[in-house]
């Protein structure tokens, strides 16, 4: 993969932007030109956070509908919402676990089932891999590492222009020392889950 547009979506506080920056650094270390974009502001109060990473010589940091080679979804509903960004034959790697928006909690709206993502993407995406990121992160030591679980899953199923080993190096190099171990564990658990999911 020489050029890739990667679209990240999640909910404020999920570490979407941290994951974006980590991937951007990985790309830079691999000698790939990179540009990345993020939208802050209102999104920080539990709203949707979207960011982009464009590898291989794009100038715009924005992704239009039908343009994303990869969607990395940190939350199930937001993954579904972002599917129009996907390019035919692209990858969807997402968290299978939900964070209820307030309307769902208040019983005014219904949270879509996991199958909705699979159904919608079927026949359009090359691959859809959903892994339980929060549970796996808790297993690794902290729910906060759910973003790393997702990166591990994405790298393992070949959605990214980087390997799990590349990401291992970035985690060791760029995360605070006390966070390295738990994130390496999270990365491995994500990779394993994705491989198991692919095999299934």
């Amino acid at each position: 993969m020489t050029r890739a547009r990667i679209f990240f979506t999640g909910v404020g506080g999920q570490g979407t932007l941290t994951a974006t920056t980590l991937l951007a650094r990985t790309a830079l270390d691999a000698g790939l030109p990179v540009t990345s974009g993020e939208i802050h502001g209102m999104a920080q109060r539990g709203g949707v956070v979207e960011s982009t990473l464009l590898v291989g010589g794009y100038k715009s940091a924005i992704i239009a509908p039908g343009e994303a080679d990869v969607i990395l979804g940190f939350e199930l509903l937001e993954t579904l919402r972002a599917l129009p960004m996907l390019k035919r034959g692209g990858f969807v790697v997402g968290n299978s676990e939900a964070l209820q928006p307030v309307g769902v909690c208040l019983g005014r709206e219904c949270y879509p089932p996991l199958e909705a993502v699979l159904e919608t993407a079927k026949g359009f995406a090359a691959q859809v891999v959903l892994v339980p990121c929060i549970s796996l992160a808790e297993q690794a030591g902290t729910a906060k590492a759910a973003n790393t679980v997702l990166l591990g899953a994405a790298a393992a199923c070949g959605a990214l222009p980087f390997s799990v080993a590349d990401l291992t190096r970035s985690i060791e190099k760029y995360l605070k020392p006390k966070l390295v171990d738990v994130n390496l564990k999270a990365l491995a658990l994500g990779a394993e889950a994705a491989k198991a999911g692919q095999a299934a």
């Binding site: 404020g12 990345s36 502001g41």
Partner: protein, 613 residues
């Protein structure tokens, strides 16, 4: 981004946010004095200066508002220091008064104004195009598009400003401020630039007689700059052919990617503008003369389009000029998608068919929401209990604007930063209806206080609720004049909000909004009075308290009784820690902040139990 931004030697490749790159660029330009009022999408620029400010070679302040920020920076440049002033686009409206005269009075030490526009209204009340301010105020204007250009243009804007002694506008847009990309750094200047002040009132005091002379001087500078713009390395021409494109700012990125993907690179003529005011007129004229047809690709207003049309007419150049059309709208931000359609239509290709999935339109929305444990939620709850729908709610700019959503619906109108008290006062005077005006502490200092003074002077009938969360939460928890603590410790000079209100002529009532009974009692009492009244609902924003290490340790709340009995609390409070699991109301202990507000509303909710050791 840490200390590497202050490193003296250049030559590093850093992965920087556009706003961080601006910081490095102005440092390379020798900046010694930085003022701002925070505002998305500009905030990370001043926040980075603030974080690095201890022991750094510059003075930094979060000014009380943008007008003050520009005036303080204006004083610093008059005193001879290279200065930077940062704000979001609507902030420039607040600063417009000094701005319109600033270029007359000149900037001996150099002064760059960063204006961050927000096409698409990602976090703003409008999407005005501040390139027009460059024209109105007579400021040379740079428009970066990448992180590297943010760094380079910030430096060169500062150097140009120093050279000409005139203020320069660095105009960005959201997608540029928040782009992240590699930036190759340059060296920081070895010797600081200073220009000692020499008294010369005719030069610096715009009385009518001197102002006329100053205006003439400014026009001469701008006319002289056309040659500089013509030669600027930021204005780049490429390609060949009869079809031409002219673009500036972030639109250049979209255009460049589209030309590449459409296989048009080299086959069409392209003029990319980075230094956009004054226009590189001779360069553009030559470009127009070589083309049969030109498409101007610019976000928001047809600023270049109109000026280039005028230029073609003045110089008698016969060329077809296209710009704003159905593909390149005047509203919202551009993307590769709409630029692609415009380019294809322009070169005579059929419209591109977008192959994309559709998802159900009725997916649950995820609007931003006040955080779990936010004291504003408690304040809104109490006000609703007292006033319900009988009052009209005048709102202002801050996290608390989110109170406009259900269940609170506590925002009936909003004009701009600091307007809630005065607009509420006008509404009350005109309608005779009860009005509650909400305003935050930072916003009150920013420009709400003048509304209070007016309300006192004219006895406007308005209840003002100051939601004092001890920080400027909305833009990223910057300190304001009233705060007790910052990331560097205690604020040595806090402004006493209560005394200030008293001095304006109202005896304020202060409550902790998380104490429901007391807040309700105070509001009930105030609702029976008339004239201007002030309730200060003071409790620190929990996110800020955590950041400065002042958060109290509390246990999460829990459902102790019948979950079905708590549904009214759920509906009226809508705390994000509430959840429904298998149809049962529950509190998500991970999310709960332990503010203990909800437990005051239902006997079925209780504080969490300490775990047995």
């Amino acid at each position: 981004m840490g200390k590497e931004l202050l490193k003296t030697e250049g030559g590093d490749t850093l992965l920087l946010l556009g706003n961080e790159a601006i910081v490095r660029g102005t440092l390379e330009g020798g900046v010694r004095f930085v003022t701002c009022y925070p505002g998305t999408p500009s905030s990370e620029a001043p926040d980075t200066f603030f974080r690095l400010s201890q022991g750094a070679p510059y003075y930094f302040e979060y000014s009380v508002n943008e007008k003050v920020a520009l005036e303080v920076a204006g004083g610093a440049t008059l005193a001879g220091l290279p200065s930077l002033c940062t704000m979001k686009h609507v902030g420039v409206n607040v600063a417009a008064d000094p701005l319109m005269t600033l270029a007359y009075v000149s900037a001996p030490g150099g002064l760059v104004l960063l204006s961050a526009d927000d096409p698409g209204c990602h976090s703003s009340q409008n999407e005005q195009d501040n390139r027009i301010y460059a024209r109105l105020g007579g400021l040379p204007c740079f428009e970066p598009a990448t992180a590297q250009e943010c760094k380079d243009m910030a430096r060169d804007a500062m150097l140009l400003s120093r050279k000409l002694e005139t203020p320069v506008l660095l105009r960005t847009t959201t997608r540029v401020n928040h782009v992240r990309g590699p930036v190759v750094t340059g060296d920081l200047p070895a010797t600081p630039y200073e220009k000692p002040f020499v008294k010369d009132p005719a030069k610096y005091v715009p009385l009518p007689a001197s102002a006329r002379v100053m205006h003439k001087r400014l026009r001469a500078i701008l006319d002289g700059l056309v040659a500089e713009a013509d030669a600027s390395p930021y204005n780049v021409e490429s390609g060949a052919g009869e079809l031409g494109f002219i673009s500036s700012g972030v639109s250049r990125n979209y255009l460049s990617d589209v030309l590449e993907e459409e296989g048009l690179v080299g086959k069409v003529r392209l003029l990319e503008l980075g230094m956009t005011y004054p226009l590189p007129e001779n360069r553009i004229a030559a470009f127009l003369a070589a083309c049969k047809k030109v498409l101007i690709v610019e976000e928001l207003e047809p600023v270049l389009e109109n000026e280039i049309r005028a230029l073609a007419q003045t110089r008698g150049i016969e060329v077809e000029i296209l710009g704003k059309s159905e593909h390149l709208p005047r509203l919202g931000e551009f993307s590769t998608a709409n630029v692609r359609q415009a380019v294809r239509a322009f070169v005579g290709q059929p419209a591109a068919v977008v192959d994309a999935l559709t998802v159900p339109g009725d997916l649950p929305r995820r609007p931003p929401n006040l955080c779990a444990g936010c004291p504003h939620r408690a304040a809104y709850y109490a006000v609703r209990e007292v006033y319900g729908d009988t009052a009209v709610y005048s709102s202002d700019i801050g996290c608390y604007t989110l109170g406009f959503l259900p269940p609170f619906r506590a925002a009936d109108f909003l004009l701009c930063m600091g307007s809630s008290i005065s607009t509420g006062a006008g509404f009350a005077r005109a309608s005779g209806k009860p009005v509650v005006a909400f305003i935050g502490d930072s916003t009150f200092f920013h420009s709400g206080i003048t509304g209070l003074i007016d309300a006192v002077a004219y006895k406007h009938d308005v209840l003002i609720v100051i939601l004092d969360n001890r920080t400027t939460a909305m833009t990223g928890h910057q300190p304001n004049p009233g705060v007790d603590t910052t990331i560097f410790g205690e604020n040595p000079n806090p402004v006493d909000l209560m005394a200030l209100i008293r001095a304006c002529g109202v005896e304020p009532v202060k409550v902790n909004p998380l104490n429901h009974k007391a807040t309700l009692a105070a509001l009930t009492e105030l609702s029976k009075q008339t004239g201007p009244r002030v309730l200060v609902a003071e409790y620190p924003c929990p996110i800020h308290a955590r950041r400065v290490g002042q958060a109290k340790k509390t246990l999460p709340a829990r459902v102790a009784g019948d979950p079905a009995a708590c549904l009214t609390v759920r509906d009226n409070l809508a705390c994000p820690a509430f959840a429904m699991v298998d149809g049962q109301f529950t509190i998500n202990a991970e999310q709960c902040d332990g503010c203990m507000f909800c437990v005051q509303l239902s006997p079925d909710l209780k504080p969490g139990k300490k775990e047995a050791k």
